[in-house]
């Protein structure tokens, strides 16, 4: 290996991720000299365009940060704004927001598993190829994805940029008839979600363990969606208001998404981190299904994130059924707010992980400043660390093509949403 040629590969796009980015990899004498996840999705400057907007306009605007997880942005935002306005929307809104959010988890996770991640495990380039070989599995996935979308639509009228969420609650409460019809469809899909979980665990997932810090919300008695303290696998346990004292975002030259670090080190957010920190908050049947996979939880293998995603689909279906079980029409689907000044934060669990918002309002209820920390920018440093360790231990005695495919697969484990933070990755490998 002493006479290393310098090899440069340029692959124009890493497909099946959401957003635009690239990976630069320089290999020198069998070692990684440079590894940079370059994110070049152009910035859209949401934090600035929110300034001067009324608090009632924020939910419709922040939805536009991400077409795949608009509900997450709406939920973190309304929570922060309600903290400022001193609003308590009450139990009906609280429960229905969980249902609404379950819809987004089901939709986003099903999309990722089947359209973005699964083709890798079967040597297919995309879902239509996969559908020819595994029509039943793919169609099951598309049905679950559609159910997630139906659930978002129940409260949001449409699944992308839903129009139902507002500060104080919802604009509209679905009718009993609509709720019962959909609830029974969700219930009927529970066996399909369980079968999906078993299917993901049966994939040939590489054994690749790495030490990493998981970060997620944790709630006193439920699996986290909209509420909880921010905890880590290394003992962090803080209120969401204390986030900025522990987590620092910094700009790196190769990315338009800021890198976020916890006490100076990379960390993981998302489905695997959530399960690692909240396993015993899952209902018994989900715990049992996860144990039956033979995987030890918590898991330090990022390839298990696809199983974690499937488990959360199974969980979210059951949770939505449970919360809709005794549905009743509320007197009003929202509580009215009165403008006032203040600062508030909101944290919720987006499909891809912790999503933290902070707003300052003036006395007229207009946004003075906004800060939004999306999951993908939090995972960015961790993705780089993972690639570094995984490629070093896997070795470089592979063709560039194989190396590229492996790197892409590792990146997809994180389901990076480059539009939130980052859309296509082009990989450059240089060997010197």
């Amino acid at each position: 290996m002493s006479e290393e040629r310098r090899i440069e590969i340029h692959v124009p796009a890493l497909a099946r991720v959401e957003g635009e980015g690239a990976l630069n990899l320089v290999i020198e004498d069998g070692r990684i000299a440079e590894l940079k996840l370059r994110i070049y999705e152009p910035p859209r400057l949401f934090e600035k365009l929110l300034e001067g907007r009324g608090y009632h306009e924020v939910a419709d605007l922040v939805a536009r940060i991400c077409g795949i997880c608009p509900v997450a942005y709406q939920m973190s935002a309304v929570q922060a704004l309600e903290a400022i306005l001193g609003l308590d929307p009450g139990p009906w809104v609280r429960a229905m927001r969980r249902v609404f959010y379950c819809g987004e988890w089901i939709e986003s996770h099903s999309l990722h598993i089947h359209l973005l991640a699964a083709p890798d495990f079967f040597g297919c380039d995309n879902v239509t190829e996969l559908a020819k070989r595994y029509p039943n599995e793919v169609r099951r996935g598309l049905r679950l994805q559609a159910l997630g979308n139906d659930l978002i639509r129940l409260f949001g009228a449409r699944s992308v940029h839903p129009v139902g969420a507002r500060v104080g609650g919802f604009y509209h409460a679905p009718s009993m008839n609509e709720v019962v019809t959909l609830r029974e469809k969700l219930r009927a899909a529970l066996p399909e979600a369980l079968a999906l979980l078993q299917w993901t665990a049966s994939l040939s997932l590489p054994a690749s363990e790495q030490p990493f810090t998981s970060v997620a919300l944790r709630h006193a008695d439920e699996y986290p969606l909209n509420e909880g303290r921010i905890v880590s696998s290394r003992g962090l346990d803080i209120a969401s208001e204390e986030y900025e004292q522990h987590f620092v975002e910094q700009q790196v030259p190769h990315s338009t998404a800021l890198h976020s670090l916890l006490d100076g080190a990379p960390y993981l957010v998302g489905p695997l981190a959530r399960i690692n920190l909240n396993f015993e908050r899952l209902p018994k049947e989900v715990q049992a299904a996860l144990r039956a996979t033979g995987i030890t939880w918590p898991s330090a293998n990022m390839y298990h994130s696809i199983v974690a995603r499937a488990a959360e689909i199974y969980y979210a279906l059951g949770e939505a059924v449970r919360l809709l079980e005794n549905y009743s029409l509320p007197a009003a689907p929202y509580v009215e707010a009165t403008a006032r000044a203040g600062v508030g934060v909101g944290a919720s669990e987006a499909p891809r992980g912790l999503l933290w918002h902070r707003y300052e309002l003036d006395p007229a209820g207009q946004v003075v400043s906004a800060r939004i920390v999306p999951p993908t920018s939090q995972n960015q440093a961790r993705i780089e660390a993972d690639l570094h360790a995984a490629l070093m231990s896997w070795g470089f005695a592979h063709s560039d093509e194989v190396l590229r495919a492996r790197s892409e697969q590792i990146i997809r484990n994180y389901d990076p949403c480059i539009s939130c933070a980052t859309h296509f990755l082009d990989l450059r490998v240089q060997r010197r």
């Binding site: 099946r16 152009p42 400057l45 365009l49 907007r53 077409g67 793919v138 598309l142 009228a157 700009q251």
Partner: protein, 255 residues
């Protein structure tokens, strides 16, 4: 040989591509009818291939975008913009109304690393667009109807009447008249299904301007509801803030 289709992305939230990716069974049917040669999020990558129909999502916000859209135009027989970003510059075009560079400086500690234009502009500001599909986001029905029509060799028909007309057909209670909400329905293009009024709330114009609209009358009406001039201007300057009819209406109240 099957017609070839490409889906390209510029600055956007990826939400309009979901009109395909959320289409379920219809996505599989589409892949039988056409050859999807380039659609990065779905897998196929061939950005330079000659295609019959190119769908373009997102607005032009970087120097590289300006070059890329020219190339896409030259290799595409029929170019369709999908969504508010590609068709009107998107919500991110709000920077055009202020000093865009100053915003970049405020968000990034080292703005010199950010290759971004100070403006966000629609595709039609750079190349000829054959069909515009409005909406934030566009829905599956809109994109599939366009493909179907083109497969039959006819120009897709786009309704440009207002959300009001759709509300009447749906039998929705008028939120502007009955509740005094500043509904943008009278000046907004139909196509969404009048979702907001159906949910009892005011339309916020995510489908862009309808044809033959009377914005001065709506501005007067909003003033009559007690909205301040800047609040009226903000009603027009949201998702489709760079659409000329909306820009003019906003300027008329807040020069």
């Amino acid at each position: 040989m099957k017609p070839k289709i490409a889906v390209h992305k510029f600055s956007s939230c990826d939400g309009c591509q979901l009109a395909f990716l959320n289409a379920g069974e219809q996505l599989l049917t589409l892949s039988e009818l056409v050859d999807i040669v380039h659609f990065v999020e779905a897998g196929p990558v061939a950005p330079d291939e000659q295609v019959d129909i190119a769908f373009v999502e997102g607005s032009i916000t970087t120097p590289h975008d300006v070059e890329r859209i020219q190339r896409i135009r030259s290799q595409s027989h029929y170019l369709i913009t999908i969504g508010a970003c590609a068709t009107a510059g998107g919500v991110q075009a709000l920077r055009n109304l202020v000093d865009g560079q100053q915003w970049i400086n405020a968000v990034y500690a080292s703005p010199q690393y950010i290759a971004s234009l100070a403006t966000s502009t629609p595709i039609a500001a750079h190349v000829k667009v054959d069909l515009e599909l409005w909406g934030c986001p566009v829905n599956t029905r809109q994109v599939m109807a366009a493909v179907r029509a083109l497969l039959f060799g006819v120009v897709p028909e786009i309704r440009r009447d207002s959300v009001c007309m759709e509300c009447k057909r749906e039998g929705n209670v008028c939120v502007l008249v009955a509740k005094g909400q500043p509904c943008m329905g009278p000046v907004t293009q139909t196509g969404c299904g009048a979702l907001c009024p159906h949910f009892g709330r005011d339309c916020y114009a995510c489908y862009g301007p309808a044809e033959n609209i009377n914005t001065p009358a709506l501005v007067n009406r909003f003033a009559g509801l007690g909205l301040l001039p800047e609040e009226i201007a903000r009603r027009f300057l949201t998702i489709n803030n760079a659409a000329p009819a909306f820009v003019d209406a906003a300027r008329s109240v807040q020069p």
